[in-house]
Symmetry: C2
DNA sequence: CGCGAGCTTGATGCCGATCAATGCATGTGG
DNA sequence: CCACATGCATTGATCGGCATCAAGCTCGCG
């Protein structure tokens, strides 16, 4: 079993500050938005997200086609979401870590349209969608924040489209790593050292590359002195160099 | 000036039924959701979307960075949305026709994150976001439908990721054409004949291809008897053949 | 210890990008 | 009405980045 806590256990001096699992200090606060919400309203939120769920590594939280009842907020652990076409090809559409929401795609048709698979043993908070609807009609702050979260997902997707549509392999991987370290840093982890929770193949699927290309690009980054790569352990040794790859002129 | 009406004018027997511009019969009904809403509630909707706006071909409805006030529903005309990276590359993230919403990306940060450009002279309904928030707290049907629209956009984006990440040029263009004809058909146009509102370059940007590749692929489809292509006039002569390209085994 | 999943690395080939020239439609001014 | 300009599309020749195929390699685990 590997959790985010293990990330600090595995690599000492890796974790910067403790990660408390309370709604008000959970990264889920971005959804719950306690800001400007009274104490009793917070309690209503707490009763709504009363249910928790454990998902073992390799198991799926939900699958495409299942009917949609709830959103899920990652409490601990790590997920991937992937869609598949009728002829079997599939595409990883995102990786989710603590505080991020899963299941927004299911609202449209009231059926999930992608699989959510745990990449390590994980815990999620169950957010019954009907109750969220009701509560967000009562509290405009909650409503607004929920809308922002959906909108943010759309913006993120547009960024991925830009990546898939117009970047070369090196730029894609650099952008991916920078995004990952940024999100980990926001959760109190080191900005320079991380353990990948996903395989080369999953990274490749997300980035529109084959696993061999991902592997080669990691090696090239290492040769160029941007990273130290040991299997899934990554240390960023030249963050500005990586950033330049993404934003700099690429020809 | 080219409008959707001109699409029938340009190609007789092209338009199947008249397209009424009333809220209840507008494709915007997917947003307004008059279903199960009382007459007086409908009137409130009508007062909210009282403002209209004209956008000339080539002009932008909004640009990335501008602050976000309203959503827009396309009434007539045709738009593209595109994001750009810091180093100037840009990516078309979607094409919007009558009844589709523009501006959802702006909710997250209260600033638009993409440009919306009219590809022909167009009219949009202005939907002040604050008022939509208020109204959707009152009417749960409206709330639910608005959520579905945002979710649908997320699902659509995931489909584009699949396309960009794992399809070859022919499959991408076939999928694009099928999607376009499907949406036009839902609006009362022919499923087999259409006029492209965008250039080869814009199609290419959307599909992650260069304009020459788009052009060559059109020519190949014509050679294979799937299409008749005359500049921007397209006639689909073998829809099953196109569909097979998207779903069939590609190796 | 040995198996197997996942990772690395090399050799080769192909799809789509790039560079370049021509064609076609529309519009404008003489 | 023609000459010319302009923007977009088509087509050809060549190139390069990534996919593909194919070995080994590493490491965790039964």
């Amino acid at each position: 079993m590997q959790t985010h806590s293990d990330q600090s256990a595995g690599l000492p001096a890796f974790r910067l500050e403790p990660f408390k699992v309370a709604c008000s200090n959970c990264n889920l606060r971005e959804l719950c938005l306690p800001v400007g919400i009274s104490e009793q309203q917070m309690q209503q939120l707490d009763t709504m997200v009363a249910t928790r769920k454990t998902v073992a590594r390799g198991d799926s939280l939900f699958r495409a086609g299942e009917d949609f009842q709830s959103l899920y907020a990652v409490r601990t652990g790590f997920f991937k979401t992937c869609v598949s076409s009728e002829d079997g090809r599939d595409q990883v559409t995102g990786f989710q870590m603590a505080g991020e929401l899963l299941g927004l795609d299911g609202i449209a048709t009231e059926r999930h349209t992608c699989d959510a698979v745990a990449l390590e043993d994980s815990h999620v908070c169950v957010i019954p969608y009907r109750q969220l609807e009701d509560l967000s009609r009562e509290f405009s702050d909650l409503q607004r924040h929920f809308h922002k979260i959906m909108s943010r997902e759309i913006v993120r997707d547009h960024g991925v489209m830009l990546l898939l549509g117009s970047m070369r392999a090196e730029e894609r991987l650099a952008a991916f790593l920078l995004n990952l370290t940024q999100r980990l840093q926001a959760r109190g982890f080191s900005a320079s050292e991380l353990i990948l929770r996903m395989t080369r193949e999953e990274i490749g699927s997300y980035l529109g590359l084959k696993l061999e290309t991902v592997s080669r690009t990691f090696s090239k980054f290492q040769d160029d002195g941007l990273l130290e790569v040991k299997q899934r352990h990554i240390r960023v040794t030249d963050q500005p160099g990586l950033s330049k790859l993404v934003n700099g002129t690429h020809c």
